[in-house]
Symmetry: D2
Subunit: 335 residues, 4 copies
């Protein structure tokens, strides 16, 4: 069986999801949508992706010489599931459309858990989305926290977590937003990131704070964890060496900042220079007494992509075993 | 009595210390030093500050048409105390020179506590430097942490502190250093900032982590404090309203980031646009159970300046009462 | 006679204009306006500036505990002239209000020349605004170009000018706008800056291009000028040494970038660290054949402030002689 | 015949050259060098590239567990030609080593023309390097200027060119260098870029100025050209549509800044997100009278890579016809 997937919103996440889906043997992109005739729309067509557009902007695409396959509603008829990568505010509306069209829908972490009632992380709760009509792949930052915390919790029983999220100001292709030279705290504290992790790990005692800084590449987290069992720095590192979608990097080898992690991703030949794994600095991990300190970096543009693939498999009942799905995904993406 | 002060190193801290000292009625700058004939040296002379230079570069100053008052060693003969604002690595050497010349010396937080054996913060341990030949005003970040934590600890008995320091990449007048687009963690953790706070508050249980980000203005801290006594967000805010050299700011009034704090300092008519106080976001303070969360911003170029003034008073035995000295300093600087 | 001035819009330009006006002996700020109860409004009141607000937001100011002196329309009754520092789009509307209220109005360079039909630069055309009801002080960039080009043209008869404007992405107190990591060209070329210079020097053959870059401090221009008379690099430098509101700086003395120009302004004790003069790199000026090449930096927040003062004197017929007015302004502002 | 190529210096240019060479059917990388056991060295080995290291650091590589194939001198014995991607200062020394080892050498644009006496651009002077032992592929900026100017000059006889180069402060993987918030002019003017273009087009009358800005992605040029023949904006655009390694982009389609050009490269599936072509804004080209104005963006990390391939073909006498070599190179790299 090949699941037919539509991508609603061919932007930062949508274009990556499309690429990754088309590397799988059990699913296939049958359409992507774009609301304006930008260069991104042109490239989608060049790449052979059927392009669906809002009825109201069909003319604009025509004028721009970009060939479209139909309207967004036309696309609904061709798909089993939609990966919704639309910007904020409109998900509620689209969810209704998907429901009416009888297609499944995966939403992104920008939406609240309450939209779908089910949130997804492949390692932690693959089965919860089994056969579901709607699910939500949690945000890049939440995915990042779960990737490192879930295996820790299973082995060492986490007592409590505190994390500070140092967030990128804007994505690389956004040249409008700042800050250029300032740091901006998220004043509503503790921030929503803790509860978002709890949408997957409801038992976890976690609090977070966040600031926005002038960078376009990667979020970076400082994390402190009180552990319920004695351990050592070395044991923690070993655990993460085995953990899915976590990659240890080292300052000693020249990876001093998020810049060199992005360079590593390019060196590895990753499409778009993406780093799907959460990068943890091996020489920035330390256990002191019952507390673990570490830094991790999250590639906000791509870390959720493998989760989206696995979520499709769970929702469309293609593969029952989470670890089989994850291995398949990872192998196809060069992780 | 007017204490005669020499400033060794007329840079970021040195120029501010000179200005502030000359606003006091009990001390006076009798010389500043500079090693190269830069525009900063020219301005010092324009401002009427006697300029002392290394013997070996006297010629360079002559060629550049900058009038010098003598060599650095000449300056030692004219002063009671030196404020050492030299860059890293050379303090040990200079300390010997000061000792030989029989002058007192105040070092900066870039140096280790072990250099002087005494560290200084006006609120917390004014008396420890009383009459001392050498003392050290702790760094901008350490000063920032002590300003908010010391009053907290006195009133609510702190059980433990964890802080993440989001550090500026370079000062505003440094156009060489980066990062331009990256975040760099301090991998040696817990970082040295915790022990540095303990040089003043040795009983405090504090751990820190730090990252460097692409901004030139202000460090920003996320701080979590476990308190030993029950309290409320409001009580904490009241405490800091009364605390010396702490200023509450508010996102609601438009202060969303470090950028607007710097604008506020300029609006207030502060020389150089300096913010001597530690800025705490009133709407970013929150007590949850026994834990207090807050954000504070530290103007790395200027927050230690009032401490330097008070330290001179303590070391030179001009004023016995810390709070009298602090009020005097603060009034003169418009705090 | 003391001219009574109202500042409509107490933002980046408005607050500086207010400060500078209150340093003059022939004019006085009798009111400033602000539309929202921000920290800037609070500081205005703290500084003793009567604050006028839109009728519709009077309540918000009350709730925020900020004391207001009346509505914007109340202010019109108290002033001879308004310095209009409102953001784009609304000038046309306000001009009508000023006309109805029978007060004069100075607009900023963000508005088109056509709004007033008269544009102002103190050196170049002081008399054109004599007694006018409305005039426009040209923008920071245009002012910068005229400051260096006007004396050049008088002495060496400019044949043609080409300039590239490397513009700051956002002002220091704006933490919303980018770009964080990109350079953005102004695609409509030649850009409007050339015609804007011609609103003051209509005979000048000038073309411009512009890009926006990730900095908050200063615009920087690369300028090439074909001269109509033979000269030397030295002669040009001498000319600018005498030119009003132009300041020569030097890479050799350590001023390598816009960062050190801002530091110089702070070192000179300028309020807010403002650099009112156009900074020209002395060691970045070069005559090759009939062509002059140079770099200049423009402090976008403040270079027009002295022009605003002079424009008030011309419009309100306080001082007939441009150079007398300019000297008076400059002395009061420490230029 | 398969030319055996060694890459001396596996950094920004070296790693890209290696990748591109291995896509050709007439040349092959037989070794790369690295002086320190960084992550980049590890990845080179993972990718199957034989790694050669300085004798003196062989131990460090051993300790780091990175397998080396021999010393740099060992590599000389295995290669026909070296692509020298070493940092500045050492090229003179290396040239001697290559001469002694009897291998050819291609240097980069960081070196002076005088090092080799021959400089290379595929379109403009492919034949000059025919059979040469040493040649120099001109720098990213110079290559960028030649790509657009050479076809212009052939068709419209350029009278003179003036360009301002807005340079990136540091490459993406360099997190040390700034500026963070400043613009820095190259004070020695006219800058060396003009003469560097003349190393390929000696007849061209070209002058340049340059500034450094806080971005890591792409240089951007503003260029004005006096043409010797009448033409129109449309004709110029048509010319560049046909010109090799020039790509027209459009603000109307959403490419507003260098950020979106980099995004386009990623969308096109380019390895590392590289944009080998010089990007010219179609809606930022304008002919006014005899003068052409345009903006172009240069991907400093990659635009010279296809030139390096062609230069190898010319120096090693693999292909006599420049356009055949260029087509081959371009097809292999997806240009």
């Amino acid at each position: 069986m090949t699941v037919k997937v539509g991508i609603n919103g061919y932007g930062t996440i949508g274009k990556r999801a499309a690429e990754a889906i088309n590397k799988q043997d059990d699913m296939k992109v049958v359409g992507v949508t774009k609301t304006r005739p930008t260069y991104e729309a042109s490239v989608a067509v060049e790449l052979g992706l059927p392009l669906y557009v809002p009825e109201t902007s069909a003319d604009d695409f025509k004028k721009a010489g970009i060939k479209v396959a139909g309207t967004i509603k036309d696309m609904y008829k061709k798909v089993d599931i939609i990966v919704d990568c639309t910007p904020g505010d409109v998900a509620e509306e689209y969810k209704k459309e998907y429901a009416e069209a009888g297609v499944k829908g995966i939403f992104q972490g920008g939406e609240d858990h309450s939209l779908t009632g089910i949130s997804f992380n492949a390692s932690a709760n693959y089965k919860e989305s089994w056969g579901a009509q709607f699910s939500r792949v949690v945000s890049c930052n939440t995915t990042g926290l779960i990737r490192t915390l879930y295996p820790l919790d299973r082995k060492f029983k986490i007592q409590s977590v505190f994390a500070t999220l140092i967030r990128r100001g804007a994505d690389p292709n956004n040249s409008k937003s700042g800050p250029i030279n300032a740091v901006e705290p998220s004043l509503k504290i503790p921030t929503h990131h803790g509860p978002d992790v709890q949408s997957i790990m409801p038992w976890l005692n976690i609090q977070t704070m966040a600031v926005k800084v002038p960078t376009t590449i990667m979020h970076l987290h400082t994390v402190t964890v009180k552990l319920g069992a004695e351990t050592t720095t070395e044991e923690i590192i070993e655990l993460w060496k085995e953990a899915p979608r976590v990659r240890l990097v080292s300052g000693k080898s020249g990876i001093k900042s998020s810049a060199q992690i992005m360079e590593l991703a390019r060196d590895l030949g990753r499409p778009r220079g993406d780093m799907y794994e959460i990068a943890v600095w091996e020489d920035g991990v330390k256990v002191v007494g019952d507390t673990l300190y570490f830094y991790q970096a999250v590639h906000q543009e791509s870390d959720v992509i493998p989760e989206i693939i696995d979520c499709i498999r769970s929702m469309c009942k293609i593969e029952e075993d989470a670890s089989v799905s994850m291995r398949k995904t990872d192998r196809s993406m060069g992780i």
